[in-house]
Symmetry: D2
Subunit: 294 residues, 4 copies
């Protein structure tokens, strides 16, 4: 596996640095575009890494996977269909009358954050506790990123108000936004994240016990495959064929059921908001291993 | 003219009470649906009235006409094309990248309010002063309506944040919303409003002096005809043929250039948000007088 | 009036040749872009001209005005609201379930053509007879333009099939398309068209008798003002303030009620599909004469 | 396996007859709504059946899978992203400028049919030959269904003309429509279809030899999972978790890679156009077998 990761890293080297670093959150725009890290955590407990696999980065939308897993039943307030519009589209949300199309869109994650906040009283606290326990590394919020996002996050505020306008938030808009933004601003490394998400490849069994029943893990993986890569889900399924979730920090989490979780990070994004080198690395990984759900 | 108004009132009597009172602002929902008032202010200074022509009602979007007239040049930030979507549509605004399609949509009026706020330091103050001077009646803000609208106004907050997200507001979102909502909550009667809008029929000449140059008044009237009746502009032009602006409080202001301004009020609204009896009254008025711009 | 037209022609000279000649109909693309003609027919029977006012051009969508006037009641099959999408938009038509938003969109004119075909048995024949009688010039179909449009007109075929799919055409799709395309391919001069449309400025009274009742003419003018200039209606109302209809052949017909009809032609089109020099000429005309409906 | 199928059939019995039979193709509307059949073809050559597993039905959109497999490279003309709009949406196609979002929408299948027609000279002939060889049953076109669909298929004609209008068809519109409609009107049983699609579970190896390379089969399965169930893909992935394609005749083909192909048929459709009892049967099948790609 270690040599496979080295081979993958070598193959995607020419792509590292391509694409654009997310700039709508000013603090994210300062990350060097030429970073690349990759880690694999296997179901039997091994962790392999290449490149910057130990360097923390801003998880951003990768947090949406964990929030969904912890929030309990959310399906009365959020759908599970793909969206053909951008992850922060107001039009889609309005057309669906405040019911976000899936929990991996910003609006959907605002709804799952609201639910987690109601359930625990401290959504970002619950998220941090879980990530710390499962990864073994302290999951801290990058205050500069959170502050930067709150100060410039008019679109997320618009989404939250629109959801609230349809009566679909239980907590005050400002509280939900605060927890959502801080959850996105958690910084962890590829190795940490692969470890923390391992329950997705182990039928719901995490390091510190059962996270979800097996049937729910299958469903979460299915929802990731259909909705996890913004408006590039079809292309990603075609090229890679694994359930995955990407974030505008440049991270992608992918699951090979019953085998491993892969986390890759490189900040240069394509037009859909997915890491250019990250997608290529996962494609190379599936070619080399022959692993795919199809 | 007085007998014409009486005749109009008699003809629309069966329609008064039809339609639905706006309920998304709770305080508005308490107005009795069976009110009807109508007033005509002629260019030579006469004012005629029928029904509840002297009873104040919530001007709501009628204020958008006066805000636009007072805001100065706004066309770098707002268009002048009709919208085929609802007056509070997020989708339209997003598609147009934060440039509201016209100043009579909520988003457009947030932009003109922002401009008036920058220009005067107190948008709602400027609006009240103008309305008081031109109508001769004190233009007061109905605090209950304003509070009700602010407390439930998530959609307007979403619109304001979306405009701000595109960098198109100069003042803080909360300030703009506050002035916008209080401007909508001003209460005046049909007679007051007809008097206050008389400059639109007199080439820009108001009671207390010139409000706008003649060319700008023509343009404002043209923009009303094409954009002033929500997504019922074509139907209204077809049936009535006058520049007009309606509000969800049930009021409609209509202009007969060089002759008069008509203001009609009845709270029951049709599916577009226009007063059912109000539209019918203006249609009857044009049939009886033969007045139309076509 | 003659000197006014000369002055207008002089003012817009620098704009003649700007814009792009419609090229989606190959035969139209061959017209020299630097043509300019203008004619005014007054209600008392005078006709004034400037530039190429006597040179025939392809009327294209100007024919939609005459088809609507001759088709009888069409409002069960077509709306009268503006469209914010392109004149050949399928999305708008689909959203409206096969009910075209207005009779000046392609889909709307297919519906009025269908109605005229049912009413007369020969839609293009009825159109040619009317135009010939009212203009005094033989209204002939340019066979090359019609053939060119039929051969490449997949979008119009798509619109017609979509309307038919909603059960809203009475005649076979191919027949309706044939009459529609030949009606658009009629060639007439500015002077001819101004004469033929004079009933719109005379309360429905044409050269050879009553065409429409006065109330219907007002309504037709109102519908033109709100829907006649593609997705540039607001801009045109703001700048010119007259009911008008444009065609991709570069012609624009405008009505000054109770005064005159103006027809202007210059093939270079703006992004909305309206003649660049034509719009400017009408704006200059209203500035010089002070005529406007507002 | 036989007892599993019997158990599935027993469980879904209460749902058989629910939903609505597709009625927009009149001849389809005559099929009794209470039919139910199911067949499994395993990779080692066994075929199991329950209910009406041997009764032919109209394959409709199931043919899109085979047309795609036989058409060669089509990705310059068709995407592979899910659509959130209906399978016959004109709006989606127009927004994408004539590039259908995926090959399982009607527009996408018109494009793959066009490609297959160019490649073979007889698209429906190639399809019938393949299906006959792989299933061992003669794949015949139901002439009544084809005639019924051609006579009423204005929407498909609109889609084809719109694609052609963007220059994306190589053959005449009428020819493409004819082959497309006849391909949809092929009648086969569940057992026949499961056999014919077995190459999808065997890495591309069909009964009569290699159909596609293994990598292309993975991609076809991935594209089915993301795009195969109309606008219910997310729900289907969540509940069933298998690559699948449904048709408005009531059939669904699902693939368990390296294990089997399942074909189920019941004519009652849900709001997305998927068989009500068919989806439930596949869900029960995955629960009983524990098979899923996640």
């Amino acid at each position: 596996m270690q040599s496979t990761l080295e081979e993958v890293a070598a193959r995607v080297r020419p792509l590292v640095g391509q694409g654009r670093v997310a700039s709508y959150i000013p603090a994210l725009g300062e990350v060097p575009v030429d970073r690349f890290g990759m880690a694999v955590a296997t179901v039997d407990g091994e962790v392999y890494g290449a490149g910057d696999s130990g360097r923390p980065f801003s998880v951003q939308s990768l947090s949406k996977v964990f929030t969904l897993a912890l929030a309990g039943d959310v399906w009365d307030r959020v759908g599970r269909e793909p969206s053909t519009l951008a992850f922060d589209s107001l039009a889609q949300l309005e057309q669906d009358r405040g019911m976000p199309r899936n929990p991996f869109l910003n609006a959907g994650a605002l709804v799952t954050t609201d639910r987690l906040l109601t359930r625990t009283g401290d959504a970002v606290g619950a998220l941090r506790r879980f990530l710390t326990e499962e990864s073994g590394a302290p999951a801290t919020v990058d205050g500069a990123v959170a502050a930067s996002e709150l100060a410039t996050g008019h679109r997320n505020a618009a989404l939250a108000h629109l959801v609230a306008g349809y009566g679909k938030l239980d907590n005050p808009v400002d509280d939900v936004l605060d927890h959502y933004v801080r959850g996105c601003a958690i910084a962890l490394s590829c190795a940490d994240l692969a470890r923390a998400a391992l329950f997705l490849a182990r039928g719901g069994e995490g390091r510190s016990g059962r996270v979800l029943p097996p049937a729910d893990v299958k469903r979460l993986n299915a929802t990731m495959l259909v909705c996890g890569m913004y408006d590039g889900v079809g292309e990603f399924a075609y090229r890679v064929g694994l359930p995955a979730k990407s974030g505008v920090g440049g991270g992608i989490l992918a699951v090979v059921p019953n085998r491993c979780v892969v986390c890759v990070w490189s900040p240069g994004l394509d037009a859909c908001g997915n890491s250019v080198a990250g997608v290529a690395a996962l494609e190379a990984f599936t070619v080399l291993t022959g692993w795919s759900v199809f």
